[in-house]
Structures are given as C-alpha cells and as structure tokens.
C-alpha cells in the first residue's frame, strides 16, 4: 500500500485545457497516471490528451468515478476550484483527494477554502503551492503534480516536505542509498494550506509499505515543532529531518509566501531543536540526507 493515492487511482485535471494543465497532464500520463478526464467550464464535450473534458467537477466525478483531482487553475480562480472539487467529491462519493499545484492564491481565499474542505471530512486537500503527491509503482505509478517522475522508484521511504526541488533532492538522496519511496507529498509553502505534516506522519505510521520517513521543513510558522512533538508520542518508524532557512534573515519572505520569520518565531534553529528533542535524526546539509537515512535504517535494523 501507499498513502491516499494508489498506483491506479483515477485522476481528474481541473484546468486541463490551460497551458499548465496540458503540459503537466501530458507528463502525468507519460508517467503512467490514470488520468480519466478534465474540467474546464464551457469546454465540456471536447477531448484533450485523449480524455474527455467536462464543464463541472460534479459531472466529471459522476461520469468517471474519479478518486482525485489536480488543480492547475490560475490563482484568482483556484480557491473556488478547490471548493468546487470538495463539494463534488463530497456529494458524489463522500470522499476524494484534491491536489492544488497553483502558486499565488490569496491567503484569505485559502482560509475560506480550507474551512470549506474541513467541513467535508471525507475530502483531503494537498497544497496549494506544492509539487503534488506521487506514489511510484512497479512500472509507472501515480504522479499527481509537477515533480519529475523519473527520479522516483517504488520503495519503503515516505517523504513529506514543504518545498518542491528540495523534495526532489531528498528523493535523490534516498535513491543514492538504493531506497525507493512509498509516497512523496509536497504539502506546500503557503501560510494556509490543506494537509499538514502531522496527517502525513500519521498516515505513514499506519502504512505497511512505509518503513522510514523523511520530513523536510522550512522557516515560518510552527508546523515543524508541532509535528515533532506529535511524532515523539506517536511515530515508531525512524524519521530523518531537515529544515531550510538557517541563514534566512528575520522579517524577509524567502520565496514561499509562508517562509518568513515573524516576531522572532519560526526560525530554523527552533525547528531543528524540536526535531532533535523528538528523536528525529537531523541532516544539516541536504547532501547528507542519504547518509543520515542509512544510519537510521541500520539503527532500526532495517539494513
């Protein structure tokens, strides 16, 4: 098993006729993702990338019985796209996974969208402003997002991260010691997002395929500290951690909307010490994640 997304999950693309939707749709299909259709209001009835286009999410889910959707809709409309998907999954199936890739969604739109999603307990939101989620398969797999599929392989390491390229770095580090991944999740770098670290850790802990976890945080907020405290009590599997932004100056936004040290809170030093206090094996250089993971696996008798 893997978490939330299986190798053969049926996936819809919201914004399939747009430039981003088309480009990444093709890459996802190439990887082996089971793309079953897409949604662009007003373009229903057409076919794009060999799959049908629908006018609404509710139509699309009814027709395709999709398990998940991925959003490539531009920022002004993305908050509503999340809510449309949440409403449709809730009504038709009572459950579904929404992956929002879009960067630059207004924070108050996300406050409303997250609250809306949370009122529908069967629906999960991943992102926004994230690379997505990937469950590598024996051949191909299910890639929902923008990550390069070819760097992954099926295995037993669960990866969760706020960052995009730094996640790829972590994947490459795991691969450098011949460890594939169960599922990799980018939770995104926005101040208000859907799924957080703790939900990912909980899912990895109860997933039989996952035997160790890599958790990558960055400055801003206290999600890493909260996750570390939770992991100390609830996670038995080895965790390797890294936090980006040790050298970031306070009060400056470092690329991601959420990556800011505000009021002296959210520093990398605090997060690293929370990790260490929770028994998480820390790498202080991403190039060492592989070596630290290998040590942790050995210590746990997994190598």
């Amino acid at each position: 098993m893997s978490i939330w997304i299986q190798e053969n999950s049926k996936v819809l693309i919201q914004g399939i006729t747009g430039k981003q939707g088309m480009f990444h749709g093709e890459k996802m299909i190439e990887y082996g993702t089971n793309i079953v259709g897409g949604v662009t209001p007003g373009k229903g009835g057409n076919e794009v990338l060999g799959v049908p286009v629908f006018n609404s999410m509710i139509d699309a889910i009814k027709q395709t019985n999709a398990d998940a959707s991925v959003i490539y809709v531009p920022p002004p409309f993305a908050g509503e796209a999340i809510m449309e998907a949440a409403d449709a999954f809730d009504i038709v199936n009572g459950e579904g996974v929404i992956v929002c890739i879009t960067e630059g969604i207004p924070t108050l739109d996300m406050v409303r969208a997250v609250s809306y999603v949370n009122d529908r307990p069967g629906v999960r939101l991943i992102g926004p402003n994230c690379p997505g989620i990937i469950t590598p398969g024996d051949s191909g797999g299910c890639k929902i997002g923008i990550m390069p599929g070819h760097i992954h392989a099926k295995g037993r390491i669960g990866i969760v991260s706020k960052s995009g390229t730094l996640t790829y770095e972590a994947v490459a580090q795991a691969m450098s010691i011949d460890e594939g991944q169960s599922t990799c999740i980018g939770i995104g770098g926005d101040p208000v997002n859907g799924t957080g670290f703790i939900e990912c850790l909980a899912a990895f802990e109860s997933d039989a395929q996952t035997e160790a976890i890599i958790m990558i945080g960055e400055i801003g907020g206290t999600a890493e500290e909260d996750a570390a405290a939770w992991a100390k009590k609830n996670v038995t599997k080895p965790i390797v951690g890294f936090v980006a932004g040790s050298t970031a100056p306070p009060g400056k936004r470092m690329g991601h909307a959420g990556a800011i040290i505000a009021g002296g809170k959210g520093t990398a030093a605090e997060k690293f010490s929370a990790f260490e206090a929770a028994g998480i094996a820390c790498a202080h250089d991403p190039s060492e994640i592989g070596a630290v993971l290998l040590e942790s696996l050995k210590a746990a008798g997994l190598r």
């Binding site: 390069p148 490459a172 050298t247 470092m254 250089d285």
Partner: protein
C-alpha cells in the same frame, strides 16, 4: 506589501475606524501649514517609513553620519517645535531596531492632532497559520513591544478567531472589549471600531493590521493612534485601483524590485557568495550549506520552476551588481526545468556579462548529462560540482574563505 501609517489611517478613516485628524507632508513648509490647519494645542510629528520602532529610533545626517535627533516621532507644543522637528526628520536617515543599521531616509511626514489619553491598548488582526483562520489579538498593555508582553505576561493578551463562514460576530467583539476592561460607551465604541477594522482587513486582503497603541480617550472614545497595515501581495490582482496605488517603491530594495519584475524571487544578504537556485526551499538550503562550509551567502535567489534563458541572465546580472559578490554558486535540480536549458542560459549569461568571479555550477535531475556536457565543452571558467555540499565547498575554497 506594506504602506505608510498615513495611508493606513486614510483607509481606517474611510472605513469608520476612528483616527485623529492628520496631514501628510513632504517638506517643512507643508508641516507648518498642517499645524496651522489642524488648530490643535499639541501635534505629533511622525516620521513615515515602512518599519516599526520609529519613536525610539535615531535620525542621522545622510552625508556626515552625525546624529541629528533622538526619536523619529515627536510631540510638538508650538509652531517652532513643529519646524524644528520637521527639519530634523525630513531627508534624514532614521535607524530603528527594525530597519537594520543602514536605516531608511525619511521622505514623508505625518502631522497629527493630539488627544487626551485615558489608556493605551494593543490590537492586531493577522492570519493564524496553525488555526488557518483570522486571529484578532488585543492587550491592555499598549504602547510597548507586544513580543515582550507575550513573553512576560501572556495572560494580558486576549485572542479571538474568526469563523470564515460566520464572520466576526457581535459577542466576540463584546467579549474581547470586556476582556480589555471596557464597559459602557467605551465598549460600544470598541465593538463598532473592531467591526469596521475587520472589514478593512477582509475587504483589502490584508496580511496584517497592527495598532499600537489603540487608545481610549478621556471621553471614552476608542481611537487608532497608530496604523501598521500590510497586504497580501498574492491578492494584488483585485486591488489594482486601491492599495496597489499606495506602493512606495523608495521603501524597497532596487534589486528586489527588478527581480520581482522578472518573476524572480530575490533577497539581498550580507555575504559574498551569490546563489542562483531553482525552488525556494532549495535556495534557502543552498544558503545554509554555504554557511555550513564556512562561506557567507550574498543573496537568496529563486528562479522558479520554469525559468527561461532571459530570466537566468537577469538573475545573474542582479547577483553580479552586488559589489560584495566574489563568487557565484548555481544550484539547479532539474525537474520540469531541464539542465541542458539551464546550462545554455548560464553560458549565455556569463558571456554577455563577461563574468570575472569564480562560478561553480551544480546540476542534477532532468537531462543532467546533457547539461554537464554543455558546460564542459564551453571555454568558460566554470567549475562543475556533483552535489550541493561539493558545490558549496568548491565556491568557498575558490574565493579563499572557510577553514
């Protein structure tokens, strides 16, 4: 995006959040005219910069560097004092604990009427990331550093969270006011003010509003004596005719403005190793690793997920304009972005800008071998690196830093 206090108060005034009468000025003559117009016994002469701690800041002469005046916010009791304070503020460099040692040159003044204060409070509206909702925070300890209050007497800080579906409710406003010890007409004034202030926050896609101090006057009116307002830049598309117009680019770093125009994310730092990276997390990690191996990063620079050759060139030119830069580390993990395209961009940029400082390039991911081959085939003095650590160690060694 941040705005000045006088702009924030304009928004407040329009929304029915009580503020004192005040006039925005850019020179001493205007300040004196403002004093005459306000017809107030005392006025506050307030430096307008995008940083806090103005009252406790110090003004310096731009050329000589000598101290002109202590305090960037002054109370004037007569016309002569207005003239003196305005002269000491306008055109001088104000250094506060939030500006850094370089400070900010003050180009704007706000002359504001005085009022009779019974008590000072603190009030802020912000986004609570963990609760994923809007948080309103208030304290009876106004006029002082809120972080110190949070540290020393957290029980003095009262919080309410706004349900996004229900909005800010009457009982929440009342309870918060009562927690501040308000009653009678002061409590009514507080509730009305808070409702209007929340509308300012919500209608304008604010990221933060901080009023320190918010005061109760001796006749029990609640008045915003300060206005620190920040907006969510992600929402600028729907505020083009309102707060986007209030942007004061003289408050921003030139390189950061140009980077923003090219869709690059750049933050200038104090070190000497320039970095060009794709992805915000990896860009931060690159800075961290440079430091870990004994170097000092000169900047944060994220070229994003789909940078083209032109953006790479702009990125290089911004990095190289920083006179402190003695070497550059390029760190790219190609996902959607292909390493061969980055390699061509790096070569084009270094040729066009006749790069003189050492350059280390670390490529990984999509089309890495093609990318490396392109760099190896060039005549340029480019040092390849196999990992982030390797790249950081190499650039530190090349500029003669580290251990």
């Amino acid at each position: 995006m941040n705005i000045h206090e006088y702009q924030g108060k304009q928004l407040f005034r329009e929304a029915g959040v009580p503020v004192l009468d005040g006039v925005h000025c850019t020179n001493v003559e205007q300040a004196l005219a403002a004093y005459d117009e306000l017809n107030s016994e005392v006025v506050a002469v307030k430096s307008q910069i995008h940083a806090g701690g103005r009252g406790k800041g110090t003004l310096y002469d731009v050329k000589s560097g000598s101290i002109v005046m202590e305090g960037g916010v002054k109370i004037a009791f007569n016309r002569d004092e207005v003239e003196k304070y305005a002269t000491n503020i306008i055109g001088h460099r104000l250094v506060t604990k939030q500006t850094g040692i370089e400070g900010k040159i003050v180009n704007n003044l706000y002359i504001e009427s005085g009022c009779s204060i019974a008590h000072e409070y603190y009030l802020a509206i912000l986004i609570d990331r963990e609760e994923k909702s809007v948080l309103i925070m208030a304290s009876t300890e106004g006029g002082v550093d809120i972080e110190e209050v949070a540290e020393s007497s957290p029980e003095a800080i009262h919080k309410i969270w706004v349900d996004p579906a229900a909005g800010l409710l009457g009982f929440q406003k009342r309870n918060l006011g009562m927690n501040l010890g308000l009653s009678g007409s002061a409590l009514k004034s507080f509730s009305k003010m808070l409702g209007n202030l929340y509308n300012v926050f919500n209608d304008n896609d604010c990221s933060m509003i901080e009023i320190n101090p918010l005061v109760r006057s001796t006749d029990d009116e609640i008045i915003a004596l300060d206005a620190k307002v920040g907006f969510d830049s992600n929402a600028d598309f729907r505020h083009q005719k309102s707060w986007v117009q209030m942007r004061d680019i003289s408050e921003e770093d030139d390189a950061e403005i140009r980077a923003g125009e090219a869709d690059l994310s750049y933050v200038n730092l104090d070190g000497n190793i320039g970095c060009l990276v794709n992805g915000a997390g990896l860009a931060m990690a690159t800075m961290d690793v440079i430091k870990l191996y004994g170097g000092e990063p000169a900047n944060f620079l994220d070229v994003g997920g789909g940078a083209n050759e032109e953006q790479v060139k702009t990125a290089f030119s911004i990095i190289l304009e920083d006179p402190n830069v003695e070497g550059v580390l390029v760190n790219i993990f190609g996902g959607i972005m292909r390493c061969d395209i980055i390699a061509r961009g790096v070569i084009a940029a270094t040729e066009a800008l006749s790069l003189e400082v050492p350059l280390v390039v670390r490529l990984a991911g999509t089309n890495v071998n093609e990318g490396k081959a392109i760099l190896a085939a060039s005549e340029l003095n480019i040092h390849p690196a196999d990992s982030l650590a390797d790249g950081a160690k190499k650039i530190v060694a090349l500029i003669g830093g580290g251990e």
